[in-house]
Subunit: 204 residues, 2 copies
């Protein structure tokens, strides 16, 4: 898993990962400004100053969490698309949506931490985050183009608007997620049917 290793594949200390795990959890629940390095350090079991042995600044910690978070959802969605390579287009769309929702609401805190830290301009996203995020967006650009070509999504609709619309709706689920009652599979089915309705002869 890409999260278990830094970008260049260099070995990573378990302390560093423990810090990021904790930061991700706190960022997910509190966002950037509410998350303090004191909280992070205390939860990890070290002194605050010791964080600076591993990272140069708070920004650097948040940046690392956010990058891993986007990589995590990117990998999950790519995997879902690989797994459904031979499935009907609508199934692929549904699998991608389910994977995105699972990355957001599953046990990992990195993806939702990333979104909470940088959505609505809470804090300006560093270049590295923007770059990695853009790479992930390409997956959706490709998928939407595929769906339009397959006739699942109307080619008359702006592909960019569609993408913004869909990802905005998916990420918005952070706000109304009931921790227990969340079923990514069912929700993905519902979302897919919403933007790509079946034409099962319900209407003439």
């Amino acid at each position: 898993m890409s999260i278990a290793q830094s970008a260049r594949g260099a070995p990573e200390s378990s302390s560093r990962r423990a810090i990021l795990d904790t930061a991700a959890r706190l960022l997910r629940s509190g966002g950037y400004h509410q998350t303090t390095l004191r909280e992070v350090a205390e939860a990890v079991g070290i002194r605050k100053a010791s964080l600076y042995y591993h990272f140069a600044s708070k920004e650097e910690i948040v940046e690392a969490v956010a990058n891993d978070g986007v990589r995590f959802v990117h990998d999950a969605v790519s995997q879902a698309l690989d797994d459904t390579a031979d499935a009907p287009p609508r199934k692929r769309l549904e699998a991608a949506i389910a994977a995105h929702l699972t990355a957001l609401h599953g046990h990992g805190d990195y993806t939702s931490a990333s979104i909470k830290a940088f959505s609505f301009g809470a804090i300006p996203a560093p270049d590295s985050v923007r770059r990695i995020r853009r790479a992930y967006e390409e997956v959706w650009r490709g998928l939407i183009a595929e769906m339009q070509a397959a006739g699942i999504l109307s080619p008359e609709r702006s592909a960019e608007t569609l993408r913004y619309f869909l990802l905005g709706a998916l990420n918005g689920s952070i706000d109304w997620q009931r921790p227990g009652r969340f079923d990514a599979t069912e929700l993905a089915r519902e979302f897919t049917a919403l933007i790509a309705p079946h034409n099962d002869g319900v209407k003439p």
Copy 2:
């Protein structure tokens, strides 16, 4: 306009409104934690301590801004629905979406300030905000039920999921709004077509 008056219709000092206008602008661009009372006071042209002559706390200022913001979009959408009372259902949906987007991206800062302050749990929403927000949600519940009854939106889809999906997508536009190039009318048309496609015989 409801924003020009406090909830009980009591007269409101111009200073109070100046403070709220400024707070709304700063909250819109910076969110809750990044907006400081010093900034607000300086922009208004008074000393920070003087804010406490009008408000008891930072929370109270933010609460007032957020409440006005939700009232503003609520009024705008209600007005749009009244104005299109005799129009075809799809036109009504489109008008409501356009009104919501305009409230978000128009010159008023209150609505987007409200969303930025309380989305993704940036800060827990006070009871008054939750109550006013719930009243606004009722407008959309009613509208979606109307659309499902009219066959514009599929009755097979969960009305609540539809509402969450749509409002999440609309509010998400805060993130990709290009200040100049924003056309609420065109975007509303696109969004409406997306969730409520025409059946103009394009497909058999």
